[in-house]
Symmetry: D2
Subunit: 298 residues, 4 copies
Amino acid sequence: MQLGVLGLGRMGRIVADRSMAAGHDVVAFDVAEEAVADAADAGAEPADSISDLADRLDGDKRIWLMVPAGEPVDAALAELEAHLGSRDVVIDGGNSRFQDSVRRAESCPAAYLDCGTSGGPASAEEGFSLMVGGPEWAYEAMVPVFDAVATGPAGHDRMGAAGSGHYVKMVHNGVEYALMQAYGEGFELLADGRYDLDLEAVARTWNNGAVIRSWLLELCEEAFREEGTNLGTVADRVEGGSTGTWTVQEALEQEVPLPLIYTALAERFGSRSEGRFSRRLANRLRYGFGRHEVARND
Amino acid sequence: MQLGVLGLGRMGRIVADRSMAAGHDVVAFDVAEEAVADAADAGAEPADSISDLADRLDGDKRIWLMVPAGEPVDAALAELEAHLGSRDVVIDGGNSRFQDSVRRAESCPAAYLDCGTSGGPASAEEGFSLMVGGPEWAYEAMVPVFDAVATGPAGHDRMGAAGSGHYVKMVHNGVEYALMQAYGEGFELLADGRYDLDLEAVARTWNNGAVIRSWLLELCEEAFREEGTNLGTVADRVEGGSTGTWTVQEALEQEVPLPLIYTALAERFGSRSEGRFSRRLANRLRYGFGRHEVARND
Amino acid sequence: MQLGVLGLGRMGRIVADRSMAAGHDVVAFDVAEEAVADAADAGAEPADSISDLADRLDGDKRIWLMVPAGEPVDAALAELEAHLGSRDVVIDGGNSRFQDSVRRAESCPAAYLDCGTSGGPASAEEGFSLMVGGPEWAYEAMVPVFDAVATGPAGHDRMGAAGSGHYVKMVHNGVEYALMQAYGEGFELLADGRYDLDLEAVARTWNNGAVIRSWLLELCEEAFREEGTNLGTVADRVEGGSTGTWTVQEALEQEVPLPLIYTALAERFGSRSEGRFSRRLANRLRYGFGRHEVARND
Amino acid sequence: MQLGVLGLGRMGRIVADRSMAAGHDVVAFDVAEEAVADAADAGAEPADSISDLADRLDGDKRIWLMVPAGEPVDAALAELEAHLGSRDVVIDGGNSRFQDSVRRAESCPAAYLDCGTSGGPASAEEGFSLMVGGPEWAYEAMVPVFDAVATGPAGHDRMGAAGSGHYVKMVHNGVEYALMQAYGEGFELLADGRYDLDLEAVARTWNNGAVIRSWLLELCEEAFREEGTNLGTVADRVEGGSTGTWTVQEALEQEVPLPLIYTALAERFGSRSEGRFSRRLANRLRYGFGRHEVARND
């Protein structure tokens, strides 16, 4: 199959490479010329522009967008629009907000598939998990490419109507935050607790047969191996949070309680603020009623 | 009534002063000689030692202990023991663990009242809230003193059997942590939110008629008035936590969920740790799967 | 001062009555004719319609809207629009979303004050706490009415620009949820704990001098007095939640962690769902790894 | 190697079977005669009593206890005591509290290994994860058996001194509760959210390449496959909780915040109570200040 890949960052490049490895022909474009040249070296047909990419695709066009969520997706779709017809298929493989995907699916002249992609750059060799939303025929048409990009047939599925792929991915990420925090709490207690433990050995032992074994726990094991049992210079600051925020927002609308996911998200916020106001007030209130000494900054 | 007051720190001194103001005779002792002298200046009869204090009490002895929880209470009781009989009454007005009070009530030769005391030094003028556990006759015998030390008859009551006074006080403190944190969250959002607000004015407006008005909110108002709307140099560090810890421990045994009280306690712990391990691990894991840059300490 | 009161439910009626008691003239309208008749019996000048109410106001018009948040506010403003000029003042005293108030302030021909009102029907006699946002001159012009409707001068203040009144009220309500849950947790532990306690006596003792005394705790005391220490037939279901949801949504945007407020909101959601899916899955997973028996519904 | 296995429930039987499959000789005892007979059918040497089991072991004795935590472990050790010397090794493979293991290690005449065992009955074929605490020589002596019972050499390790094996297992279980709840929250949002999803397909897609893939997620997939996407008759009630309780208790002592693990534990408690008092009070308080209707049980 001939596939246009638009966006050749780490993730887009993996889509291109895995597709080519499975025998598909890839036409590749990115705003960074170097990225296009690199993809061409790897066997892709280079395009100069989004229009050029569209023109180079024969017959029914199949295009995989792998650009940052938000504006860039709308910009790419705007440029593609004139080239697309109802038998074409566009896939958005990025971390788009599901409401945006619903809107885009309605306005795009082609069939539109929103495709939540999990596994990250680290999964280049094994393949990704792909959660796809959109028309069934379009999903079926893309199965050969999904088979190549995912871990195989079990690594992709059509979740439902437009937006459902990114919806399921959004929830996936909310769960991911909570899992990371859950392991973090356990290791924090082990690190600060009453035994002097080798946390890499703990993680390795758990990864071999324990109920809580997982890929994230393998990444913990790797982290302790590479950084040391006390995590060396790794700082107490967690970036990111947009998909977790969306998950909580959706749950507020649906009135579904997510105490763990919310708390994991709040920990990220807390890690990025200096001098939490709530704690400063609590410190001062203890003086207010009990005349306890107030801790002060110099 | 003649009352022995053992322990003349801020709280013990208030017990002595309020009792004397109500016409009771106070015999006072503290390991700090200066504190005894000060109390004598205020009208109390000074004692040289615990034994001396006991000897100076005529008839059925009534003794109020106001010493730090734990060892000091047991030490005082050990010294008093030889002087006590079954018609005497000992009150422990400190923040003792309720299980200790149950144990002491069993071994003390006198009737033993565990008395949770709330209000703190700031309540010297208005009087305290007293939650009392122990034998009904002993509680009744002490009512004149309780009337004086509390805000009046409505400010003290017998909760139930031995230990119940400190049990109710323990739970009071758990609730207190959560209330402080709840106000703190609200003010944190106001401080970091999208309007430039005068938090003293907010607190004052709330304290005059709003559903959430309270004494703690009056202390917030005072804090903003004295420290400024941004709390000035007040640090992000909250000390204390033992009664909150006991509350959560008891709730674990009773299988009662206390998510807010627990979280408020955990915020205190978090405020006292540098470089939360769980967040450092989350930071590193984001690199593990997504090759996101790792924030590092220099 | 002459004041138009639009909306004569429990809260609007209190605005009218307290204003009249302070010597102001009230013109009153409600879609329910009976409510208008009742207000007229109490001394208000009745109006037949919103237009009629506007026409009956002499000089610069001062109108207090006390209608349900959302559509009804926009509908009332649409009808008023033709009657309003730049020297008139409209107050929205309901629980509007602050973003709506910002939008309305921009489009309303009159000066627009968003006024968060706390205290509820139970505060009819003492007066409300009023948090006001909007132009300073308009706030100043309304001070005589605010003095009447609030607990007095200390019970109202201008928070800041348009929207700030409802913003502060939104946060007030988020805090309110957390305070209710905090007291609830404490009483739940006392109710299910190891002593047989009279919770009305506990609440009364606390309300007289304890650190956690508050109006909400007085309402707890009242609840135990009226329903009994086990709360009788009161069900395990908490309605409401919109202002708490807005608070959390705003905090997500501001990246401010609100673990207690969120958890209190989530408890409400949880109280309204039957058969929490997360727990059902946990139940089943314990069979999955441990062959523990699965609890099942008949 | 000759190994005594004391306790032939599901887990003890797996220890015996996997040891025999690896070529070790097993002497087996259980208070249930049938269990002994079954093990004998499978190739073990049956013992009549604990003493008899000890007598049948030649040379340095190696004994694996797999009995319920608490009293049964102490009872077995009391009976074994007279038969044990300093060159013998006893392993406690159950879910004992780590403080008990420290105490037993001090009093046991033999070397004592506390061995946290994870994987559960479902892991019979793959082997367990074994976290071992105690003297290094004793751990080394038992490696051939650990290799057989675990997933292999990577599935067991010595964590540290006495108690550390059960300590790490305790924390493992705390993390396990949080992971289960985290997945549960995600699936609850998907089940109650805005798409009609096949949760088995979601879980399968995630298990093939997604960041959150894990063994627990495979068990979720299995649960949806066997029970249906809505989990059929599975009830909203989660049993268990002792190891999670211990984890939180230890974290309270160490002052380490565990908000997710605590919340997951509290969800279990909540699932087992009828009519949460805190919610009933919140329901009633909304009437107190706002005259909202009180939901009541019939």
